[in-house]
């Protein structure tokens, strides 16, 4: 492999007909360029879409109650029921591998009435009664003050964390909201923190939320033991899609819902949605690979063609070398290495050009600001390694037929051609 004479010969052969070599190399170069750019574009789209999922823990489901659709154990159809705070512990006891179970209550909602008052200003906001863990499932950056903690929960403190949107609506620009009181449906809460969600975390609406302790919420707004809905996140490594049936069944059992009543417990499996998007990108990637490899294939055929011509041109030389005692496999190896070398080098040039284009697009995106559904296209080291492997194999394939025809050259016939 690392034979100086062999390499010298490869270089001599390839540089003998420089333009031909360059045009041949261009085919492979172009193919791998297309492959790299397509994959990077796919990745850019993927990054863009996934940004919309934001930092939300994707291995999460949301669960709420609805009216039953079947009579069961003497209870009528169409009965409404509520999750209770005890249900949280019941789920924890019965279903393993769950990371967070956050019971939540909510005030307001889409198009709700004004429900929050500060001084002479009012606004309509979503108000959540939450446990401190919610910040892991619905990530936000606390910009001032602090988030909820268990002392707030245990002592049922009437404290609130408000979003940046709320702060901008209700407060003057230079006013410090910390330590002030806002009135939520007539109940005063002390503002102890402000947060800002990532742009992607629900957009404008995401900044207009108020978080208060779950226990204080229940007491202040008369919810008793009721739980509006739950956000449940599974441990990394176990899928919430697998666990969700178990969780739903625990709920059905506790609330005397017919086991086959599929409507009574509503849920939304974020992971499943995420997976659907994920598989879409899998398909996109496959298309990129197929198109790229197809284009590459025409380049490879070009290489194969040229190698056949090279063998033809060198028939006499091969004959001489055979007469001097070169082994057939040595000739074969020579042709194969020339082919692989040519493919690899031109492929690397393609990869470099592809990377430059990606770099250019990235710096363009940086300078014009974020574009919808497209973000930092890139290829990973894995993809590049994969591309190189493809090149290696295709070089081998491209050289195979010419090499075979080279060793079929019988020295006597080769020497006869003048």
């Amino acid at each position: 492999m690392f034979n100086r004479d062999r390499w010298r010969e490869i270089l001599e052969v390839l540089t003998k007909n420089t333009w031909r070599t360059i045009f041949t190399a261009f085919g492979v170069c172009w193919g791998i360029f297309i492959l790299i750019v397509l994959l990077a574009a796919g990745k850019g789209l993927e990054n863009g879409i996934k940004k919309d999922f934001g930092d939300i823990a994707t291995n999460t489901m949301f669960m709420w109650t609805r009216a039953t659709t079947r009579a069961y154990e003497g209870l009528p159809q169409g009965r409404r029921f509520e999750f209770k705070i005890d249900d949280v512990q019941a789920i924890r006891d019965n279903v393993p591998n769950l990371r967070f179970i956050s019971p939540r209550n909510q005030l307001g909602g889409f198009g709700g009435n004004n429900n929050v008052v500060y001084g002479i200003r009012t606004g309509a906001y979503n108000v959540y009664g939450d446990y401190p863990e919610i910040i892991n499932q619905d990530p936000m950056a606390v910009t001032s003050g602090r988030f909820l903690n268990y002392n707030d929960i245990n002592e049922k403190r009437k404290v609130a964390i408000i979003g940046l949107g709320v702060r901008n609506d209700l407060y003057d620009k230079d006013e410090d909201p910390l330590g002030t009181y806002i009135k939520i449906q007539g109940v005063n809460f002390l503002v102890i923190g402000t947060y800002k969600k990532n742009d992607s975390g629900g957009g404008e609406e995401g900044q207009k939320e108020i978080f208060v302790p779950f226990t204080s919420f229940s007491q202040a707004f008369n919810r008793g033991e009721d739980v509006g809905w739950m956000a449940i996140t599974a441990n990394d490594g176990s899928s919430i899609s697998v666990l969700k049936d178990k969780i739903v069944n625990v709920m059905k059992e506790r609330h005397k819902v017919h086991p086959e009543d599929t409507r009574a417990v509503g849920y939304f499996d974020l992971y499943e949605q995420y997976n659907r998007v994920e598989s879409l990108f899998g398909a996109l990637k496959a298309v990129a690979y197929i198109v790229g490899i197809m284009v590459l294939l025409s380049g490879i055929i070009g290489v194969s063609n040229i190698m056949l011509i090279v063998v033809k041109e060198r028939t006499k030389e091969i004959g001489i070398r055979r007469a001097l005692g070169e082994q057939p496999w040595s000739i074969k190896k020579q042709i194969l290495m020339e082919s692989i070398f040519l493919t690899l080098i031109s492929g690397m040039v393609g990869i470099i050009f592809g990377s430059l284009v990606i770099f250019g697009i990235n710096s363009l995106l940086d300078s014009v600001g974020p574009v919808d559904m497209f973000m930092s296209p890139s290829v990973s080291v894995g993809v590049v390694t994969g591309a190189l492997t493809i090149l290696m194999i295709s070089g081998l394939l491209a050289g195979f037929i010419p090499a075979q025809s080279a060793i079929r050259v019988r020295p006597i016939e080769a020497l006869r051609t003048e």
């Binding site: 030389e317 001489i320 070398r321 001097l324 006597i412």
Partner: protein
Amino acid sequence: MIEIKDLHKSYKMGSNSLHVLKGINFKVEAGELVAIMGSSGSGKSTLLNILGMLDELDEGTYTLDGVPIKNLSETKAAQYRNKFLGFIFQSFNLINYKSAAENVALPLYYQKVPRKERQEKALQYLDKVGLKPWASHHPSELSGGQKQRVAIARAMAAEPKVLLADEPTGALDSKTSYEVMDLIQKINDEGNTILVVTHEEDIAHMCKRIVHLKDGVIVEDKKVEQVRADQYV
């Protein structure tokens, strides 16, 4: 050194076959310098190709230095060619993009001789044919006679048992031909076995034995008084 018994060879030309060699019996001792003569079509090149393991015989036996040569695989044939035989061609057949020294070193490369040793040996043989100063020249920069001398050096580099020369002077003018023959004679003087295919009488008479081929059979096989080529040089 070479022993051929009842050698037959025919070529298929479409539907009819051409019987080229029709029972050749032929023996060459070590150190001989044999000219194989005959008009074109007499089968002399075919005979040389078979001797050179470039072609296979149909019938008969061929023994080279005690080794029977029959049904060799390409790998084996290449190995034997490298070890036993040195070729000198009418058209020199040097590799154009390699320098004289590299051309000479080629058979040694196939023997997997280390690079340094190869270069030394190549220079040594180039010196022997008087071309050491041209070692780094490419074939295109050499005259016909010089090319043939490089080819001779290359044929000798692997230290083969037999040198096979196919019309070695065919492409050269008579003065250069005699120079080349002088060189061949000198190599023969050192004890090397050489077979020369030629159709030129004067070249044939510079060998020690002349074998006449006609229509695929040996019609005459005689020892001759060798004419030294150096008297013409």
